[in-house]
Each structure stands twice: as C-alpha cells, then as structure tokens.
C-alpha cells in the first residue's frame, strides 16, 4: 500500500546550516502519525518544509504519488496539504470570521466554504460566539481553535499540526487533544508534532522520533510508549 504523504530522504536547513539530514516518513490515509523529538530536533523545520515555507534541498515530498516538493505553498494547500503552524499565526488584526474566510481561499475549498464553516463552528462553538472579535484579542486557547478552524476551512486531506497545545493550560490542551480524533471523521489524515508525548502517543497510530535531523526510532503508538529509549528521553522515567 502506498502512503498518502511520503517524505523521502528529506534534507533542508537555513542557509548553510543544515537541520534535516535525510528524513523519511510515511503517512497512511485516515491515520494519526506523530513526530516526536526534543526541542530543536527539527520538527518545525520538517513541517514548514512540507508546507513549502522552506525549500526542499534534497529528497522528495510526495503527496498521492505526486512530487509536491517543488510547488509553491498555495499550490500545496490547493492539493490538500495544510499546515496549522507552531505559534498559531492567526491574523491578529482580522476578525475570527475573516480569518476563517481566508482559510477557505483556495479554489477547491471556496465553493464549499459555507458548509465547512458550519462544521467548524459546530466543532468549536467558542469561535461562533467570538466571530466578530479580532483574532489578536483572543486567548491562547481560542487562537489555537481558530488556527485549527482556519486549517479545516481549507478542506485538508493531510493536516499538519505543529504543537497544537504549546503554551496552553492543561484543561484546554486536553480539550484540543480530544478534538483531534474527531477530525479524522472528516476523512483527513494527520501528522502531529507535540511536546506532550504521552497524550500524543495515545492518539497516534504510528510515530517517528527525530534526533538531530534524522529519524531515530519508529513504531506504532503502543510500541513507542513501551520503548525504553522513548521513556527515557521523553516520559521522564
């Protein structure tokens, strides 16, 4: 079975500083795949490269068999590869409603934006209540919901979630985590990077551990939780 999203021997970095040295990852349709790794391991770099914000210097990014590593960011969104970035990056001086409207700017999503909007509002009722509020004035948790909602408005086939609970209170983080499996019901597949390894491995079907720009251990969620190396590195025992 070929993977929906296939990263092959990917290398990239910032100018002369190489950060990823040949990362290979496969994402199956309808599954949650986790990318784990210490701070600075290169998770965000990987996600930004898949989204086209950083150049793919070597290796390939294939989506449904097609090489998308050379496409501009907006073309990847058009195909259905959508990033919900670390730090959320909502548009602070636009309202919640305007942020969501922009989420559906790609041609494929725009035609269905009214329906998608209803779904997103049902998933995050808080956004409905605050739809005319400026995004910059939302709380951290609300901004994360908005970033997720904006991502969903693009009708993704693959959603790249980079640290969706970063900096959030435990209660809200838990709430965000509980919506992730629900997202699969929309027929999409998820690649997630998270600090909260325990919660992530609970919802992940498969995981990769990045170390110094290379894939270290891989395995299904269960086996990674039980792996002594993962336990030692991330779970604090």
């Amino acid at each position: 079975m070929t993977a929906l999203l296939e990263i092959n021997d990917l290398g990239t970095g910032y100018g002369d500083v190489k950060v990823l040295h040949g990362v290979s990852i496969a994402l199956e349709k309808g599954k949650v795949t986790a990318v784990l790794g210490a701070n600075g391991a290169g998770k965000t770099t990987l996600f930004r490269t898949i989204a086209g914000l950083l150049p793919c210097m070597s290796g390939r990014v294939r989506f449904q068999g097609e090489d998308i590593g050379v496409l501009a960011s907006h073309k990847r969104v058009e195909k259905g590869v959508v990033l919900v970035p670390e730090g959320r990056l909502v548009f602070p001086d636009l309202t919640v409603a305007e942020n969501l409207r922009l989420g559906a700017i790609n041609v494929r999503a725009r035609a269905h934006s009214d329906d998608t909007l209803k779904t997103v509002m049902a998933l995050f009722p808080r956004l409905e209540e605050r739809k005319s509020q400026y995004a910059g004035t939302l709380s951290g948790g609300e901004q994360q919901m908005l970033a997720l909602g904006r991502g969903l408005m693009a009708m993704p086939r693959v959603l790249l979630l980079d640290e969706p609970t970063l900096g959030l209170a435990p209660g809200i983080a838990k709430q965000i985590f509980s919506t992730i499996p629900e997202l699969l019901d929309f027929g999409l597949s998820i690649l997630i990077a998270e600090q909260d390894v325990r919660s992530t491995l609970k919802i992940a079907d498969y995981g990769y551990v990045l170390e110094n720009g290379l894939v270290g251990i891989t395995g299904d969620g269960e086996s990674l939780v039980r792996s002594p190396l993962v336990a030692q590195a991330f779970l604090g025992h």
Partner: protein, 294 residues
C-alpha cells in the same frame, strides 16, 4: 478672514485633497502593502497626464472616456516592472529593510528614465489643454466642470477601492500578507499574484490620477516629484496600508496646502509639503490613524 471662508478656496482644497487621496491610495498598493519604496509614483501620475493630453490633442478623446485606456497604459508599465525588476526581489528578500533599500534605488532609476524619456518625446515645456472648462455657478461658488469632475471621479474611485479592499477576499488577502506573510502562504494565498495585482492597481490608479490632474493644471515631464512626496505624506499620515486613513490624510493635505498658500504665497508650496512630510515623520511615524506596524 473673508479669504479663509471663501467657498472658492474650500472647493480648491477639496479638489486637490481628493487628488492627493487618490494618488495616496495608488501608492498604498505598492508601498503600504508590499513595502516597495516607489519614488516613481508621481512619474506614473505624469505618464497618465501625458496619456490624457495625447489622447485629447491627437484623437480628440476626452480623458473622461479615456480613463480605462490610460489606467491600462500605466497598469501595463506596473506589470512590466513587476516581472522585470521586482518579482525576484520580492521572492528572495526576506527583510523589509533590504527590500525598501533595493526598491528605492530601482525606482529612482525608473523615475529618471520616465522623466527623461518624456522630456525627449515631448520637450520640457509645460502643456495644457482646454477641456470641459465651462463654469458652473452655485451660490457664490464658480466651479469649472473639469475640476468638479476631477473631484467627483477621484472620490468615487477611492471610495470604491476602500469598499473593495474591505469586503473582497482580495482585500482580506492583502491584509493577511501585511500581517504575516508565512501565514498568508499557508492559508493558500498566492502571494505573487496578489503582489502583481497590487502593482497593476497601484499603477493604474496613478494613471487615472494623472489624467484628472491634467484637467486641473499644466503638465510637464518633471511634474511628478511633488506628487510622489505628497503621496508619501498621505501614506505616512494615514498609516501604512490604511486606505481610509489615507483618504482623510489626502484631503487634509489638500487643505493644508491650499490654505497655507492662500495665506502666504505660492512660492512656499513645495516647502510646505516637505514641511508636513518632515513633521509627520518626526511626530507620528505610525500615522495619525494607523497603528504602528510591527
């Protein structure tokens, strides 16, 4: 005091102010949104003015009907400059400061070329033409039809543009790019296309403004620079990328200029605009209405 209350002066200030507003809106597309220091903006106004003059004297075509064609000419120059000079710059330069510095030099060259080409083609002597100069009197106010049209057309266009930017997805896309370029890319905005659109709109509007200016005053190949300065004053007062702020600032500048010249003498006109420019930068670099851009 009588002078200051004269409806004639008020009308002149409104006409000039609305033209400044229009010219400012045009520059806002290129400087306010993509941060290219287009110091050739006034020269595009000049090109628009000559296009209007040429169409009228050669073909007898009224600038009022020629506006789409004139806008098309300057818009094409904009598109040409985008593809020829700025597309790569915009794709490869990440720091705003560097982009501003590079674009300043490039546009300086464009300005020199446009001015000298026009001087070669049409000589440096000022030109003017008589068109729509019937006088309409309302109360004590005498208005030439051409000036009244300049006022109405420029206000209509700035208003239409501000509505378009406020409510269209294109306008939202522009705001998104200003606020966070990476975020704009990952929501699926084709940043290059929006920038090309901004060039076309900004330059097209400059052409229209030039045609309207040619209805109200003499034109010459070197008429552009004061308009460039005025446009920057408008943008700085109104706030970068803030279209409605720019409209108010344009009208304000028109009033400042007309009334101060009336109180002093026309020789101070340029000094005055520079004065406002310097004052604006020193006192409110973030604009009267705009908030500071981060």
């Amino acid at each position: 005091m009588d002078l200051l209350l004269s409806p004639q002066l008020l009308f002149s200030a409104l006409v000039l102010g609305s033209l400044y507003a229009l010219i400012g809106v045009g520059l806002n597309f290129v400087y306010g949104t993509i941060r290219l220091l287009n110091i050739a903006h006034g020269d595009l106004v000049m090109i628009g003015a000559y296009a209007a003059f040429g169409l009228f004297t050669a073909l007898g075509l009224s600038p009022m009907f020629g506006l789409p064609l004139i806008a098309g000419i300057t818009a094409m120059i904009g598109a040409g400059l985008y593809f020829g000079l700025f597309k790569r710059q915009l794709e490869n330069t990440t720091s705003v400061e560097q982009l501003e510095a590079n674009s300043l030099l490039l546009f300086f060259g464009v300005s020199v070329i446009l001015q000298n080409t026009m001087a070669l083609l049409f000589t440096t002597s000022p030109r003017a033409y008589q068109h729509l100069d019937y006088v309409i009197s309302i109360g004590g106010l005498d208005m030439t039809l051409s000036r009244l049209l300049a006022l109405v057309v420029s206000l209509t266009i700035v208003f239409a543009i501000s509505m378009f930017l406020k409510f269209s997805i294109y306008g939202l896309g522009i705001s998104a790019i200003i606020q966070n370029r990476d975020a704009a890319k990952i929501v699926g905005i084709d940043v290059g296309r929006v920038q090309l659109g901004s060039f076309i709109l900004g330059f097209g509007v400059a052409g229209i403004a030039g045609a309207l200016v040619s209805l109200t005053e003499q034109i010459s190949p070197f008429m552009g620079f004061p308009f460039t300065i005025a446009a920057f004053v408008v943008i700085i007062l109104g706030g970068l990328g803030n279209i409605s702020g720019g409209i108010i600032a344009g009208i304000l500048l028109g009033f400042i200029e007309i009334y101060s010249v009336a109180l002093t003498s026309a020789t101070y006109r340029s000094i005055l605009i520079y004065g406002v420019f310097v004052a604006a930068i020193m006192l409110r670099p973030q604009g009267l209405f705009g908030k500071a851009q981060t």
